[in-house]
């Protein structure tokens, strides 16, 4: 790990990652041992590793898998679900499975096609549905907090994208903890300071069986392009991604960014249909999409 000037054997690496995770949980006041945590698991290396780490640390963590109905000729969602269920069964963990098509009548690709969101890619609809469903299920089952497996590369890529266009609203909301409100569960990212490479190494060293194939719709996506761009920077300047993200968090915390002055202007409203918070009065984006697509086969 050039960014930390640190080299560890597998045995100590498997201790170091959970120790550091615990440090980040406390540093950012994500949750306590008395709280119920719902971990959003996709079958990928990050989310399964996060679940593994939280359970090892003694937290009360259950899993949530969203069956998105992405097939693309390789049965992507089916295989992701199989690996997630196997992971949970082998460790005797509680896993909630929510099937989008069974609940709402259409798969993610079908929603994307009918609603015409996302310029031919289902990624926008996928993100919208995942955020809505994770929040709904966390609330319905009485979880205190929703944990996702976002790593440093995920966070740095989003920060890079939002910085390129100076998206104040998104910059304001980005961080290790998104506080809960009436219609939204608290969201936390305990892995946000680990490089994607570090999490892959953890999953391999721990022997976690995860889905190796990328989502078939991810090829050529903006987030992957930004990750590759940042990796070129990282190769030339070890530690650049971590510095980029941590200095952003510090600037935001200390009020040195312009966005702090606008905090008071951002007001959320409850959606009249589902009750979740939304940035504009009226139906939220998810309910608008459901309304728009409900008469399509």
């Amino acid at each position: 790990m050039r960014q930390h000037k640190l080299a560890l054997c597998a045995e100590h690496y498997l201790e170091w990652i959970p120790e550091q995770t615990e440090r980040f949980i406390k540093k950012y006041a994500m949750f306590t041992r008395g709280e119920k945590i719902l971990v959003a698991v996709s079958g990928g290396k990050d989310s399964l590793s996060l679940w593994d780490i939280l359970v090892r640390l003694g937290y009360r963590a259950d899993g949530l898998y969203l069956a998105l109905g992405i097939d693309a000729g390789i049965g992507y969602s089916r295989e992701s679900q199989r690996l997630t269920e196997k992971f949970a069964a082998e460790r005797n963990l509680t896993l909630h499975v929510a099937d989008i098509e069974k609940t709402y009548g259409k798969s993610i690709p079908a929603f994307a096609e009918i609603s015409r969101r996302g310029q031919g890619r289902p990624c926008s609809v996928c993100g919208l549905v995942k955020r809505h469903e994770m929040n709904r299920i966390a609330r319905d089952f009485g979880y205190d907090v929703l944990a996702t497996g976002h790593n440093l590369d995920d966070e740095a890529a989003v920060l890079f994208a939002n910085t390129l266009v100076w998206s104040e609203e998104y910059l304001l909301r980005q961080g290790p903890v998104l506080p809960g409100s009436d219609g939204l569960a608290r969201k936390v990212k305990p892995l946000c300071r680990f490089y994607e490479r570090e999490m892959t190494a953890y999953a391999i060293a721990r022997g976690i069986e995860y889905i190796y194939e990328e989502c078939p719709f991810a090829d050529g996506s903006q987030s992957i392009f930004y990750k590759e761009t940042l990796n070129r920077l990282e190769t030339a300047r070890p530690g650049a991604k971590l510095t980029f993200y941590l200095n952003f968090l510090e600037a935001r915390r200390s009020g040195h960014l312009f966005i702090d002055r606008n905090t008071a202007q951002i007001q959320l409203h409850p959606c009249p249909n589902c009750g979740q918070a939304t940035s504009a009065p009226g139906l939220c984006s998810f309910c608008r999409m459901i309304e728009k697509t409900k008469n399509s086969p």
Binding site: G44, D46, D154, E196, I204, Y212, E214, S221
Partner: protein, 64 residues
């Protein structure tokens, strides 16, 4: 005397005796984007590739 680097369905042949980091640069793969596994063990960038080595490169980038 060669060593093989395998990334998904691609096989690259490089000269044994060079470091993994040099080999990755030679085949134009960013070190940050892969984890190298030899005989089931992860190896670091400064590891010297041996003749006959078959090193699996596990892609680390995911997302969409």
């Amino acid at each position: 005397m060669i060593a093989k680097l395998i990334l998904r369905d691609k096989v690259y042949e490089v000269k044994a005796g060079m470091s993994l980091l040099s080999a990755l640069r030679k085949i134009d793969v960013l070190p940050e984007s892969v984890i190298a596994v030899r005989d089931g063990e992860m190896i670091t960038d400064d590891e010297i590739l041996r003749p006959g080595d078959e090193v699996k490169l596990v892609a680390v980038i995911s997302g969409g």
